[in-house]
Amino acid sequence: MFKRIFSKQNIILVKELVRTDFKLRYQGSVLGYTWSLLRPLLIFIILYIVFVKFLKVGAGIPHYPVYLLLGMVMWNFFLEMTMMSLGSIVGRGDLIRKIRIPRWIIVISSSLSAVINFLLNLVVIAIFMIANHVSISWSVLFLPLIFFEVYVFSLGISFFLSAAFVKFRDINYIWEVFLQAGFYITPILYPLSRISNHTYQKLMILNPMAQTMQDARYSIITHQTITSYALFNNGYYIYIPFLIVLITLLIGATYFKKSSKFFAEEI
């Protein structure tokens, strides 16, 4: 099965589709690729002014500006990947109706476009970490694993949404509302420690996005981050976010596989 998935042709196709996406993304813009770096930078300036200087929400947390930026970048990756994938199957309808390529390749290639953007954003974070004199500990090694978890979670959702969007064209509005809600119940702009009720804290960290965000902050920025391991005292509950990720991928992929047979006629 792995041989089939990673066949030469599939890899060629993914490469070429990602390349096309990337070229088309900044088509006609003056600064072009620089926007991938410039955007997180500008967002950072806004966040810095509002949350660090005006509201002072992160008082007491070391390197709070970078802490904030990391959360923002991770959330943006999740948002961008799911939104881009959502329309990917319908957007590539011309291909699907005329040629036989594995349908999932289209979702994968649009997800990889988001990954590339994410990696560029990480460069910006690295620069700020150096500027902020953040000391790196060995726990940075966990970072790839944490990001991989975010990717898998987003991929599961992407598979589900892209397939559902073929049939139900108002999925994108619904998903936008979900994202909006998710943005506020995930500790992106505020530190989790600000939530005084411990039950709420625990409930919130069951969300894979919150769990990964806190883990990532813990491992590269400051150990003064509340993680699920600390909250649940390493009890069985710490596995719940991972389970959610796995189930999401399973449901997403199954639904996608089932409905992909009929994409050509339904688009």
Binding site: K8, L24, F262
Partner: protein
């Protein structure tokens, strides 16, 4: 023997559900779920179709519009999955349902070559090797760094075709690709087919063009409303095809312009109002109205001209067109035949006109175009393009426009 069959289609059915109220939003899906309102029409696009194609064969699929040809092709290509039945394909298959799949107008010609190549399964490295060939064949080397949106449609097709013919595969599916492109391009296509026939590539060919089907295909099937109604040699299939077309036409033949025909729709029929042509018929020597003639049968065209305003010395005539080549092959009128003073006609009078069509016309589909004009031929009172259609079949030498037995000289020169 078994392994020589590369495509085996076994009792394949494809149904499309056409819901009366498509659930295109979550809201309507929810409402309809509770209402249990699942009404839809079942359209059997392809119904219980079976056939086999051997290695190296050119296999034609014919049928009228909406007969399920394209659905069948998409089933073969794996774009649709069958509702019932099995499709077994051995070897690499490349579908050309359309040329230039995945072309992106915002990318340059060069980038599009690589993208299209990837869709056909070629890596960048492999494409680098083929690149020069492709561009040369398309004759577009000057334009490769321009965005595709600035290409003319002809240029796009040329580029797409050049990439397509580089794609080596065991089975090719070709869906009326030849319908686009100019004469020179079609010649290129045909040359490519001739080359293909020498190899053991299997080709599934869907087309309306009898000429190319006859020329290239060995075997084929005729589809009508999703079912196979004839299969076997291409000749047998094609003659069954012309039969259903003739039947169809004899059912709804009207004396006025055939509304179903699109080719001529752009050109308006001219009618300045002084006279109107009616009762156009093609008849045989006994005077019976007919649209299907046997080769060699006597054919005449007759019609009436109703005069609405006073006209002096009108010219009345008829032109016969051959459908495939879209060219007038015969024309006659009162002036050509020397009737200069055809007389004065006033409102209410009727002219009867009849012209014999020269013998020797070969198998094919023909249009008639009756016309009536003023004395100098500068103004048409009435002209009906494609007024009627007639068919000739049964020639034993159907490969030319006309078939007459002329004397030939055949000697050995000593």
């Amino acid at each position: 023997m078994e392994q020589d069959i590369v495509i085996k289609v076994d009792n394949v059915t494809k149904n499309f559900k056409l819901p009366h109220n498509k659930n295109n939003s979550v809201k309507s899906a929810v409402i309809n779920f509770y209402k249990r309102n699942k009404s839809y029409d079942l359209q059997k696009a392809v119904n219980n179709v079976s056939f086999e194609v051997k290695r190296g064969e050119f296999f034609g699929i014919v049928g009228r519009n909406g007969s399920g040809k394209s659905t069948l092709l998409k089933l073969l290509a794996g774009i649709y999955s069958p509702t019932n039945g099995n499709i077994n394909i051995q070897g690499k298959l490349i579908p050309f349902i359309e040329l230039g799949v995945g072309f992106s107008p915002e990318l340059t010609g060069r980038e599009n070559v690589f993208l299209n190549g990837a869709l056909l399964g070629f890596s960048r490295k492999e494409m680098e090797v083929l690149y020069k060939d492709i561009v040369d064949f398309a004759e577009l080397s000057k334009f490769m760094n321009q965005k595709l949106k600035n290409y003319s449609s002809g240029m796009q097709v040329r580029l797409a075709f050049s990439i397509a013919i580089r794609a080596k595969s065991d089975i090719l599916l070709i869906d009326e690709v030849l319908a686009v492109g100019d004469a020179a391009f079609q010649t290129k296509c045909f040359d490519y087919f001739v080359e293909l026939k020498k190899t053991d590539t299997t080709v599934i060919f869907v087309s309306h063009d009898r000429g190319s089907l006859e020329r290239f295909c060995d075997n084929g099937i005729l589809l009508n409303e999703g079912t196979v109604i004839e299969s076997g040699t291409m000749q047998k299939v094609l003659s069954a095809y012309s039969e259903i077309i003739m039947e169809e036409l004899s059912h709804n033949q009207t004396p006025t312009v055939n509304e179903n025909t699109t080719d001529f729709e752009a050109e308006k029929n001219i009618n300045s109002g002084e006279a109107v042509i009616t009762d156009i018929k093609t008849i045989n020597n006994t005077g019976g109205k007919k649209s299907k003639f046997n080769y060699g049968e006597e054919i005449a065209i007759e019609f009436k001209v109703l005069i609405k305003k006073t006209v002096i010395n009108p010219i009345v005539g008829v032109t016969v067109w051959q459908k495939n080549i879209d060219r007038a092959i015969f024309a006659t009128n009162t002036m050509i035949e020397g009737i200069k003073q055809s007389g004065k006609f006033t409102n209410g009078e009727t002219i009867y006109f009849k012209a014999n069509i020269p013998p020797g016309l070969n198998d094919g589909e023909y249009y008639t175009e009756p016309a009536v004009s003023n004395e100098s031929g500068t103004l048409f009172f009435d002209r009906k393009q494609k007024a009627t259609t007639f068919f000739i079949s049964g020639s034993n030498n159907p490969h030319s426009l006309i078939s007459t037995r002329e004397k030939i000289v055949f000697n050995k020169i000593t």
